[in-house]
Symmetry: D3
Subunit: 245 residues, 6 copies
Amino acid sequence: MRITVIAPVILQGPRPPSVLAFAAAARPGCQVEVVFLDRGPASIESEFEEALAVPDTIVKALAAEAGGSDAVILDCMLDPGLEAVREKVAIPVIGPGQTSMHLAAMLGDRFSIVTVLKSLVPLLRRRARDYGLSARLASVRAIDVPVLDLERNRDASVHPLLEQAILAIEHDEADVIVFGCTGMAGLAEAVHNGLVHRGYPDAPVIDPGLAALKHAEAVVDLRLTHSKRTYPLPPRKALVGYPGM
Amino acid sequence: MRITVIAPVILQGPRPPSVLAFAAAARPGCQVEVVFLDRGPASIESEFEEALAVPDTIVKALAAEAGGSDAVILDCMLDPGLEAVREKVAIPVIGPGQTSMHLAAMLGDRFSIVTVLKSLVPLLRRRARDYGLSARLASVRAIDVPVLDLERNRDASVHPLLEQAILAIEHDEADVIVFGCTGMAGLAEAVHNGLVHRGYPDAPVIDPGLAALKHAEAVVDLRLTHSKRTYPLPPRKALVGYPGM
Amino acid sequence: MRITVIAPVILQGPRPPSVLAFAAAARPGCQVEVVFLDRGPASIESEFEEALAVPDTIVKALAAEAGGSDAVILDCMLDPGLEAVREKVAIPVIGPGQTSMHLAAMLGDRFSIVTVLKSLVPLLRRRARDYGLSARLASVRAIDVPVLDLERNRDASVHPLLEQAILAIEHDEADVIVFGCTGMAGLAEAVHNGLVHRGYPDAPVIDPGLAALKHAEAVVDLRLTHSKRTYPLPPRKALVGYPGM
Amino acid sequence: MRITVIAPVILQGPRPPSVLAFAAAARPGCQVEVVFLDRGPASIESEFEEALAVPDTIVKALAAEAGGSDAVILDCMLDPGLEAVREKVAIPVIGPGQTSMHLAAMLGDRFSIVTVLKSLVPLLRRRARDYGLSARLASVRAIDVPVLDLERNRDASVHPLLEQAILAIEHDEADVIVFGCTGMAGLAEAVHNGLVHRGYPDAPVIDPGLAALKHAEAVVDLRLTHSKRTYPLPPRKALVGYPGM
Amino acid sequence: MRITVIAPVILQGPRPPSVLAFAAAARPGCQVEVVFLDRGPASIESEFEEALAVPDTIVKALAAEAGGSDAVILDCMLDPGLEAVREKVAIPVIGPGQTSMHLAAMLGDRFSIVTVLKSLVPLLRRRARDYGLSARLASVRAIDVPVLDLERNRDASVHPLLEQAILAIEHDEADVIVFGCTGMAGLAEAVHNGLVHRGYPDAPVIDPGLAALKHAEAVVDLRLTHSKRTYPLPPRKALVGYPGM
Amino acid sequence: MRITVIAPVILQGPRPPSVLAFAAAARPGCQVEVVFLDRGPASIESEFEEALAVPDTIVKALAAEAGGSDAVILDCMLDPGLEAVREKVAIPVIGPGQTSMHLAAMLGDRFSIVTVLKSLVPLLRRRARDYGLSARLASVRAIDVPVLDLERNRDASVHPLLEQAILAIEHDEADVIVFGCTGMAGLAEAVHNGLVHRGYPDAPVIDPGLAALKHAEAVVDLRLTHSKRTYPLPPRKALVGYPGM
């Protein structure tokens, strides 16, 4: 099984640690390849940046399908281009936002999302609503650390993540914690341990990127993919400025 | 008052008649300018095409704001890039889909959307859900005519629009009809007359493009714009492939 | 264009300043006439008073239609008699409550209503629910000033309105503020300026009466009216105590 | 126990048979008094007529409370003035529409309302929505017989009621049938027998007026009444045209 | 009329005072019989205990029906086995949880449930959701007293119930209070008096067991029962370990 | 990895073919063990039978956890005892109903469930509602074949499954098909092939049992389990008739 993770950002410098977590987490026999964009933003913290990430994400997904990948993961909590990519390819296209919110709704009654910036709160609240899960969303909280800073100094984020998770449990009646940024990949264990230590052993902590990877493995095993009735192949027509699509 | 209509498509040949309807409908003292994309699809009938329309739509919206426009209309029922554009500009950004569905919900209990292609049904159903109005959506129906054919031969579309509108009223219990494509601009009167002639004088027929224009005039008059708490300005950061943004 | 504003209250003394705002806000060529009730309450702060306002509101709306008005505005946030009046007349009947809540839902994700009395909180919450918008309602707050006191000393209300608006933003996560009484007409600018001054420039403040006026202008321009399928003309039958209806 | 049934209509000729059903159905020791309006419509088949019924309904409810009644029933499926009356009196005010829909939701998954006129369909659909039960409403159907004709020739209505009930079960997947007019009081047994005879013994048939009576007995026994937090007593103020309120 | 109250627990020692409240509250001519389980838990404070209570509850309900009872009440706020029992018997099966939440939704806008243990909060929130009433649920609060302790020392529970009720009103904007355990039967008057004394006379306090009793009387009077379309009789088939079912 | 599948029925004769599908579908290194009940029904087609299956299902789950299993699957579309079992064990407890409905909601917009008996329709509709997914449920349809007959002659079920799936797509606008009984395990490929052959290649067909297996593998890999805040461990107390629990 081969799964392509599309990091929907341009790479500046070394690969961020969060993308390394995928290969480590893949099950035996599952090969994970991470690709970055040639055109797009350095990180995604707005609808604007998401919009600029989508065109090249589609290119990369088409290449992944052509190259024989069994599934594509859009490595961002906002699921950039989920619908558009699903229209263009037949292999499963997995969004960490959609996957982790549905997983949270299956593991408990109410979930809170803890994300990087306050400005992402309305975007994630909107995603929960679009996925039909807002009745289960206890809150969206932020640690006020930009994605790129988070990637540079991951250990420093554990404490604010833990603080916000505890507030979500105590104040917002959350039963499950969902990380609100795939850049937090690999930190779930540390935050969960912190919760245990602070007297909250009972709330699962979901890493959306890894949840997407495991969901992708499951969907491939089941030989399923998204419904092409919901996501029909676009008709061919004139297109300017996007060669090769 | 100056309003910029962004037709989120590339122009191939003469301007389609639907965009002419705007200038005719603007109130005295309101100047409407229609701009087309330099990069993008010839028409929008999928999430994929919408995604490719958004980047240059943002460029055009930024130019409109810089040029002194009072508001921007995204001239497509799918409201391409509504959230992204609102993040980048401070002037009102009006989507015909959002505007016409809310207008329909104010004029009656249940509305049906009559669009061009069956493949657009899930997209429009999703928009109604995202806007929080799906409890009021009676149905989405299609006339099975692509946008570009519609624009070439508009009169031929009146009859199938009428037939679907009658089915929506009779079969789906619709109280209000909403056109599901801004390319249908200018046909509402003919369809409404057809409904009167066929014994259905009681269902309003909403032209989403003109509804957006009138809503834009209203919002500008009220000196309002979208909440920048919901649509905060994106942080500045590295961006490859999108010069000038 | 002629629009009749029905102030659904009896007039005691001079016309309140809030109704003067309409004529000033009407666009060139739009003539606004304000009429008061002959029978009804001095102000509306309960369902009981609303109920007593409706019969004469219907009389006034019938007179407006007979006199050639193009639209009627029911000048109260509770939209007194919206459905009943729509059944009896064919011209558009616009409710500030319905209009402003839908406008708020289009401008941002979550809105709060700031009204006069705490006793109005359940009534406005119910209106939001009836209009299908309660998922977007962050809160209803009150300044604890009766309508008639508000009209007598409008400047004194700016500060409590500002305080409640800030609480709505900070505590209830509101993105948009909606005045919960049409008696507040003309105060939006002062409250918005106060918000800017206090560090909250990003939340629009909606004046429901003026929003209704602009919406009325738009609906008249679009040659639309409410669906008579939703609001069918009542059958004629015996009626005691309401001559002329 | 004394319960006052307010028939929110003027009486023309003899008392309709539907109101006789109340006294017969009251439990031993419960005395039912039926009062008619002095001012209002001959029957209620629109929001307009409902609006004209409310003022004198309030008068009658105040008189009932002053006269020592333990509860008031508003004898119409539209629950005319339910909120306004509850604000003015402290004794329980019971609406057949609200009561019968909640009862239906407790007895089965999906209910259909079978009413008199097609023009009542949007009104009853709206009531179900306002009561928060529209997810359980399978359909609203009509027999196309006006209330006053129904009262004049009740036996003739059993067959069309039965036909619509069967369509509701077969076509709309209804589990429970609710009469959509209190003028149908006393016909539930005949319709239920018809359903048994036609092979549908499993769907309860709810008579909303009698359901309201039994609910009133229950609420009085429980020494409960509506929450005055939801329905606060209106402040006293000038009121023209409604002496004695 | 004969009503069987099934206390879905085993009896250890004398009958708890809460079950005595039923006979006292039954109307003249209504005979109430309380039966306890032979197999099951000592009290129900979890889904696990509920599950173990259901099999013998079914046995007791079948015996009640065979013995001529007119209705069965499942005397626990969690409505243990409501659907299963309804499938097996034709007489009305009444759940205090379902009944009291619907009653609360009829008496006011928002209700809060005050229960025994914090661990019951998610269970009761889930019940409200399953009954379609979560939009009206203000909160679920707990007094942190186990059921069996409550039964042993009922007076000691009045104060914590009162404290939580006041918090529900003040902090959660509740209009109606619902006891979240049928073991609290008989305490509503004391808590209501406490609320009056503390300045909150306006919020009704619902005793779910007694509400179920009165609802049972009403349903029997109306000759109604649950829809066997929603709760069809199970087919006969092999069954091991449950003799006599 | 070891996963215990609890078939919540007693075994009469040879193991049904549906349970053989699990071992075949498990990924390398995942060992699946299927256990049957000692006490319970022969098949589950009602809430009553579900209720009788739960007590021994809990026993089997406790044994699985004690024996070192990594997860438990409740092999029935009704998810018998999902909440109760989750309270008693700490390892993941996976329900095919919950899993397959969430999976369907992730793969497309609207899903239909095709089950065995019409009498299961309200039960499955209720499950969809309880899981918060009813807005996405297009319909529940039945092939009118009891579970035990289905297991005896599986090939005969492919055609009626196909017919109902096509009706779901054509008539109910379903985008995804979900089998409504885990006894259908292994038939998804044949039904999907039939859909392709009949011109409906675009709708995925979900086998709920296998979906649960793959989800269990994913959850175990992620080292997650259900939230013990939502499903707290029941307190210890007296329990009659259920030794060993």
